[in-house]
């Protein structure tokens, strides 16, 4: 049955069984060095295993070449993930130093549910807003295609709370359209007729560092 049968038939039989069990991972190079050497040594004297090795190499190539026939479905999974309301987990060893800030940022973004919809004119103020997409235009919470364009840009004080932000927006009758940008600015929208008054009000509030008008072109 084999070429070069060793003297010790029992030892050969044991080595043969061992090699047969490990042959698949010998083919893929996933054995430990000692296992690989053991199988290799047996292979050199076993015609059965050599035939099996040839078969498995073809099998491996054939299975590896079988196509993946499933469409991309990230948008559906994203919807599921966004719909999932999960409280912030307790700090664990896996965190990398962004515990509360990370969740605060997520919470504000989720609660405000901003939509990006403006093509901004290149004014000095809008330069702040244009940075919004500098990170690759990922707007998981802003997939709505009909978002209102912004007409004001503001920067809040760094230590502003979410309640203070909400209060300022309500006082100015403004809605958050986008942000924070790379410069931590937010794009707001308010009825055109109220914009001057809204800007004056925002500039007067202690939680606002900057409030400027911004013109936006329709898409």
């Amino acid at each position: 049955m084999v070429d070069g049968i060793p003297d010790d038939a029992a030892a050969f039989s044991e080595a043969h069984r061992d090699a047969q069990e490990l042959l698949a991972w010998y083919v893929t190079g996933k054995l430990e060095a000692d296992e690989h050497a053991r199988v290799g040594a047996h292979l050199s004297g076993c015609a059965d295993c050599q035939r099996d090795l040839a078969f498995q190499r073809k099998l491996e190539a054939g299975i590896a070449a079988m196509p993946v026939d499933v469409e991309q479905g990230w948008s559906r999974l994203r919807d599921l993930a966004e719909a999932e309301e999960i409280p912030a987990p307790a700090p664990r060893g896996l965190r990398f130093g962004r515990e509360q800030a990370g969740y605060l940022g997520w919470g504000i973004a989720a609660s405000l549910a901003v939509a990006l919809g403006a093509t901004l004119m290149p004014t000095a103020a809008t330069q702040l807003a244009q940075n919004t997409s500098a990170d690759g235009a990922y707007h998981a919470l802003g997939a709505a295609p009909t978002a209102a364009p912004g007409n004001m840009i503001v920067i809040f004080r760094p230590d502003v709370t979410e309640a203070e932000m909400r209060g300022a927006l309500r006082a100015a009758d403004a809605r958050l359209v986008d942000g924070p940008t790379a410069a931590d600015a937010y794009v707001l929208s308010t009825p055109a007729a109220k914009r001057t008054a809204a800007l004056a009000l925002l500039k007067a509030r202690h939680e606002i560092v900057l409030a400027e008008p911004m013109d936006a072109a329709a898409r």
């Binding site: 099996d52 590896a64 999974l77």
Partner: protein, 201 residues
């Protein structure tokens, strides 16, 4: 370990992942509810998990749901990853359990009736047609194995996992993995011999 891309990805048309990408760090960002990190993880794993799941489920319409169920476990409980295994081992183990549950829910064992023909739908040059026919026959043979045997074969040959890692994913002894591989290989050999003759494969 299951290869995250590089050679395997290039050879098999899967997503090729930058070597520097640290999947453990991605999980840490997901713990912080970073949806962008979750998307990155999805794009890394979607091709490989889809492939793994289709081989277990054999019913394409169940694959997307099982894939999403798997990744939603990651999204909902990322802190369950304790770092004692590779991220890929953890995710594939979730996928395997998810797939077995999906099969149980949908009643065994209605195999994908199109599995054998899917690979040969498009006409092409003769050698490509031959390759597709070969793949179709192989796919049909794989479809006749049990889900457990298919999982071992696919994890070994496509995902290039070692038998110890497969045992972790399938949550079974390494001896069981070896035995399943032996039986699966013998069955595939017999079935392919029926198609190609004893020496034709």
């Amino acid at each position: 370990m299951i290869r995250p891309g590089s050679q395997a990805g290039e050879r098999r048309g899967a997503v090729v992942i930058p070597l520097a990408l640290d999947e453990t760090r991605l999980i840490a960002r997901i713990v912080d509810r970073d949806l962008r990190a979750f998307e990155q993880l999805y794009r890394i794993y979607q091709p490989r998990l889809s492939r793994f799941l289709i081989n277990i489920l054999r019913r394409p319409h169940l694959v997307e749901e099982a894939l999403n169920d798997t990744l939603m476990v990651v999204w909902k409980r990322p802190e369950a990853f304790n770092g004692t295994s590779k991220v890929s081992t953890w995710i594939f183990a979730i996928a395997y359990r998810t797939a077995l549950k999906a099969r149980a829910r949908n009643d065994e064992p209605i195999e994908d009736p199109d599995a054998g023909s899917r690979a040969s739908l498009e006409p092409g040059p003769e050698q490509e047609l031959g390759q597709r026919q070969l793949q179709a026959i192989l796919s049909e043979a794989m479809g006749k194995l049990s889900a457990e045997h298919r999982a071992v074969v696919d994890l070994t040959y496509f995902h290039e996992a070692g038998y110890r890692e497969i045992a972790e994913i399938l949550d079974c002894p390494v001896g069981t993995v070896k035995t399943r591989m032996l039986h699966a290989r013998k069955r595939l050999k017999d079935m392919l011999a029926d198609q190609f003759g004893a020496d034709g494969w």
